[in-house]
């Protein structure tokens, strides 16, 4: 297969970092910036990544890809693929992952679908314990602890295992939901600094993902990195608590926010304004048909803390703030924008009431759409390459004008996407991203 032509460079060329910064300031750069792999919500499953790298001839057959995010099984895109696609964003995160072990000490592994990968040394799954043939994952890689996540047989990702202690509503303790919201360690700060120094010479925009202000993110709520989590850890119980125990939730967020802001201050003291944007929160507020929570619940329980975090970041740093929320969130967007976020991801246009033109018209001058580039529920996995190309062109035309758009798939590229569609996707990005886009 031929390498897609993704590098039509016009006469005025911007660096990647400038391109993204201009987009975030709602100014058209030379072309629409592209993100693949900048963060844990703009990445690609190892299965699809392996096939893409093979199709582009970047690796010899059988060369494993690194699993840099084991919860969603996201792969390390690599600087060669970033350059081949003309992507503009790289990411910096903490050394430890969702399961509480470090992304180092790599060892070979094979996924259920046969993809050769490298996983961190703490990736200690147990196949024998699950009678249905799935895999259990253990907090901090400790097989002596009860498992904290499971991947079903032939599955592609892990999901949290329910570990909910009985709840005594008369004696709720906020501390129980704070265990993982600890002060950031010096070792983590040193790691972040080293990573930033490594990435800066690339000229790419750096997206920071530190997880210190993710209030109510159900990826964090189960506490998969903790061996014996206390408090409210079952996801369904958490949603129930938003209605039944709002005072408790508010207090939890208040304390998490206090700790989070202290951590942000220490991170900023360490790395300054070297990152372009920071992923503030990944809490999903939308389902397929409607928001998961009422506008009143967002306003009362979440917005005060989002305002606090955005205000701190905007008054102490030059970072732009990035919110990830899947689903239909049209009814919440007035408040989300008012809370001060600079960028919205993934812009799930396949959800109800998330029409691209309506979004751009109403909010396009106030928030950058970091996503929305291609439907990952139907077109990318199940459409034809021609349909993929048409949608990319359409999204460039709708979201591109006036800047305020960073092209990304709607959430991570999932497993099971035909490689022809991936090639068509990035070829179309290359074809249609120069301004005027589309």
């Amino acid at each position: 297969m031929s390498t897609p032509d993704t590098t039509r460079i016009p006469s005025t060329r911007r660096t990647s970092r400038e391109r993204v910064e201009l987009a975030l300031r709602h100014v058209e750069a030379d072309r629409v910036p592209l993100d693949l792999g900048g963060g844990p919500v703009t990445g690609i499953h190892v299965s699809s990544l392996y096939r893409l790298r093979q199709a582009l001839g970047l690796d010899a057959p059988g060369t494993p890809v690194k699993v840099i995010e084991p919860f969603q099984m996201l792969g390390e895109v690599g600087p060669d693929l970033v350059d081949a696609l003309g992507a503009d964003v790289v990411g910096v995160g903490l050394r430890t992952n969702f399961f509480g072990f470090a992304n180092d000490d790599w060892k070979p592994w094979t996924t259920f679908d046969g993809t050769p990968v490298l996983v961190p040394g703490g990736f200690n799954t147990d196949t024998g314990a699950d009678p249905q043939g799935g895999l259990f994952m253990f907090p901090q890689g400790d097989r002596a602890a009860p498992p904290s996540a499971r991947m079903p047989r032939r599955g592609f990702y892990f999901d949290a295992v329910k570990r909910q202690q009985p709840i005594d509503d008369e004696h709720l303790n906020v501390e129980d939901n704070l265990e993982e919201f600890a002060p950031i360690t010096d070792a983590e700060l040193a790691h972040v600094k080293r990573e930033v120094e490594r990435l800066l010479p690339s000229g790419k925009a750096i997206l920071g993902n530190f997880g210190v202000t993710g209030f109510g993110d159900v990826a964090f709520v189960p506490g998969m990195s903790l061996k014996h989590p206390k408090g409210i850890r079952d996801i369904e119980e958490w949603y129930v608590s938003l209605s039944l125990r709002p005072e408790y939730i508010y207090e939890v967020f208040d304390r998490q926010c206090e700790i989070g802001l202290q951590n942000l201050a220490r991170i900023h003291a360490e790395i300054g304004d070297t990152i372009t944007a920071i992923l503030v929160t990944g809490t999903d507020f939308g389902g397929q048909q409607a928001p998961l929570i009422s506008p009143r619940t967002y306003r009362n329980l979440f917005m005060p803390f989002h305002v606090r975090v955005n205000d701190w970041i905007h008054s102490h740093t030059r970072w732009k703030t990035f919110i990830h929320s899947c689903g239909s969130i049209w009814r919440l967007l007035d408040d989300i924008v008012a809370a001060g976020f600079d960028a919205l991801n993934p812009v799930q246009t396949s959800a109800a009431d998330m029409d691209p033109s309506a979004l751009k018209q109403k909010y396009g001058d106030r928030i950058t759409f970091w996503g929305g580039g291609i439907d990952t529920q139907s077109v990318l996995p199940f459409g034809t390459p021609a349909e993929v190309r048409d949608m990319v062109r359409d999204r460039m035309r709708v979201f591109g004008p006036g800047g305020g758009f960073v092209f990304n798939t709607i959430h991570n590229v999932q497993a099971g996407v035909p490689v022809e569609n991936l090639l068509a996707l990035y070829e179309a990005v290359g074809e249609f991203r120069d301004y005027p886009a589309g």
């Binding site: 129930v240 209605s243 039944l244 389902g287």
Partner: protein, 210 residues
């Protein structure tokens, strides 16, 4: 007599302890269990479904109301069994093989139970054989949930397994979940699709109406 209206309000407001108190008092006062079920609980869940569809309430409030309803139904169950009150039908529900997501499926199960159906919850990561077994055990409806593009194809395998077992005519099949569409339901040979828990109840009722 204010028990029935108060019971309805207790369920709608998600007050489980109050709902249990109301059904207990209602039984003590000689109100038939079936009346408490139909006029109290099922009527309340109908209103909850309506409020949800009108975006007056959302998932947390639905879950809380459904839990209150469940708690009240558990009190009524022995009476309903004793008086041979028939359910509206039996629904076997599960998240398909390879998929562990269950909040949406749980909501549908709770809404069905609150609407007078017998619900057999097969859980998550359910292989096709278990859906087939559920039909042999008496299910009138098989309801499947999937959240992922990588697992929705398991739904087709279930429909095929049911056909291979010679049971396709004995059951109605309904599907749902974030990536699922009405078109996909038709494509795989299912009988129906619903985009949310409230509409799922209506669709099941419709499918079981001769």
């Amino acid at each position: 007599m204010t028990i029935i209206p108060e019971l309805r309000e207790a369920v709608i407001d998600g007050r489980a302890k109050l709902a249990v108190t109301m059904v207990t008092q209602g039984l003590e006062q000689g109100i038939p269990a079936e009346t408490l079920l139909q006029d109290g609980l099922i009527a309340a869940m109908k209103e909850v479904g309506q409020l949800f569809e009108e975006h007056e309430i959302y998932v947390p409030e639905m879950l809380v109301a459904a839990r209150a309803m469940n708690a009240a139904v558990d009190v009524l169950k022995p009476q309903l069994v004793e008086h041979a009150v028939k359910s509206s039908g039996t629904v076997a529900i599960g998240t398909v093989q390879g998929d562990l997501h269950d909040i949406g499926k749980n909501l549908v199960a709770m809404m069905l139970k609150g609407s007078g159906f017998e619900v057999v919850d097969l859980g998550t990561d359910v292989p096709p054989e278990r859906f087939v077994d559920a039909i042999r055990a008496g299910a009138d409806v098989v309801a499947m949930s999937a959240l992922l593009t990588t697992t929705m194809t398991s739904m087709k395998e279930v429909v095929e397994a049911i056909s291979l077992a010679g049971l396709r005519d004995r059951v109605r099949i309904i599907v749902g979940g974030a990536p699922i569409t009405a078109r996909y339901a038709t494509e795989i040979g299912a009988d129906g699709y619903a985009p949310d828990a409230s509409k799922a109840v209506r669709k099941v009722r419709e499918l079981l109406t001769v």
